[in-house]
Amino acid sequence: MSRPRPVRAALAALALLAAGAMFGTVDAAAQQSAPPPTEDELLRQIEALGPMLEEARVAAEAAERRRAMEVAARPRRPTELVQVGPLRIVTLPEQAELAAQLFGDVWRNDFDGVAGSPALAEHVFVFQWAWRKVEPLRVDATATGSSPVQRIELTRAWAKTRGVARARIRDAVWAVLRSDIPEDSRLGLWIGSRGYPSMQRVARLVTTSPSDDNRACLAGVTDGCVAALGLSTGEMSVPPEAAAIVLLEAVRMGGSGAWTRLLEARDAAPLDALAHAAGVDADGVMAAWLAAVLAERPEMHAGLGGQAVRVLLWVLALAAFATRSTRWRLA
């Protein structure tokens, strides 16, 4: 007697599932019983990845060359060069004022006091913030020479607010500044390669992180701050991006020539380099850093007053809507 088709299909599916489960179990058991690979085997596996890595690198370079050729083949759009402090910005003429505003805000708020950076003097920033799809701008070499280019080309679909645009500019300026400090120097190793931090995020994490060093630091103990920043042990208990804040705070304190002094001392112990740049002792640098971080502590209920007004307006609009009901039009 033959079974109905749905029943046969269900039985076949069950059989498949059972077989799959059985093979899976066998495979897992085989994996458990297999001895762990030796060091030589692991080294061979790693070496086997070398050609693939090289292939990927060559492909990435070719893609970059193709992209550069595509950009070069496009008709050149007119551009304008804007100068904000030591920053040179190439942008579209209609966005020159916007670029000056945004870069000016970032420079004043985050990097004021950083003077004498060779990398900043050398680089050119290309800026666009457009509604449409962004086409990379061609930079006129007659105006900028053969300067390296740092691009901040944003579409408003992703970077909706001025705050987001400023954050991207901040990251780009920090990336260029960071390139002044060799990665293998002691200062470079301490800073790491992270982006520019959000001060509010750092402030919140410093305050709430479960670390005795942090608590001591908050209580004003310099050694606590030194330890929390990894300046004594190398292990940070605050977010690693906090290093950028200490560094810039030390440069701000040091005033004229501080960045140059910092670069001179890049191979000294990071705490000594910071104190050398700031022209004060470690206590002074740590106190300034802590004060700067706590001043940026996020206001947890910011904007509540504005929200109350907006809710009131919405309620009035909805009340007006409610009075227009058709319930009583009985005809």
Partner: protein, 227 residues
């Protein structure tokens, strides 16, 4: 005329309101329960425990505010719909005045759970010994709770005031925006290449909950204890 409205609405909602008042009073205290005690981890563990422990309860605050608003709004129109608007038509007031009086009565009744929440938040904040660096925000949280409740109430009050047909139209329009906006974006991008990468659903959601939209207050910061 306002007083009878308030009284009638109170009679309608008082039994339903009791559990909400209790919840509004108790929720902040439940949220801080066990926090700030003299844990073996010392003060550092306390700070972490307070902030992370409290985070788990955060979604319940706007949910409670929204639920109270819905209950108040539905009970506001309940007896009108049940009795065929006879009581309303018998009153010597215009329709718009009647609706506004009724809305005002609901808002006044909403102050009861809001007050309970405010007291509960203060008691909860006082029950935790806060380490340096942390602060309690009972007033701000209670104001946010009140605003969210009023917003929810106004929205559902407006929906409840209309005919079934109007309500269906409004709900359908919201549903159409949520479902159809991505589809519309895909079609428009064929004709306007500048719209590539623009998500209409995301824009609509952003407008509703972020950029001054009606539900902005629900997604704000609902912390009682934080930095």
């Amino acid at each position: 005329m306002y007083q009878p409205m308030l009284f009638v609405h109170w009679k309608q909602v008082r039994l339903l309101l009791i559990p909400f008042v209790v919840a509004a009073f108790g929720l902040p205290m439940l949220a801080v329960q066990g926090l700030g005690a003299d844990a073996t981890g010392g003060v550092s563990a306390e700070v972490y425990q307070i902030v992370s422990g409290y985070q788990l309860w955060l979604p319940l605050f706007p949910m409670l505010a929204g639920a109270i608003g819905i209950v108040l709004a539905l009970t506001a129109w309940n007896w009108d719909h049940r009795l065929g608007h006879v009581y309303a038509l018998s009153l010597p007031v215009a329709r718009w005045e009647y609706a506004l009086l009724k809305m005002g009565a609901g808002v006044a009744l909403g102050l009861v759970p809001a007050l309970a929440f405010w007291v509960g938040a203060h008691v909860a904040a006082a029950s935790v010994a806060l380490p340096a660096g942390l602060n309690a925000y009972p007033n701000q949280l209670a104001l946010r709770f009140l605003l969210a409740m009023i917003m929810s109430y106004a929205f559902f009050f407006a929906l409840g005031s209309g005919t079934i047909k109007t309500t269906v139209w409004v709900v359908s329009a919201i549903f159409a925006v949520l479902v159809g906006s991505e589809l519309l974006g895909d079609v428009l991008v064929l004709y306007f290449s500048g719209l590539e990468g623009v998500s209409f659903l995301e824009l609509a959601t952003d407008w509703l909950v972020e950029m001054g939209g009606p539900f902005e207050v629900f997604v704000g910061n609902w912390t009682l204890i934080d930095v």
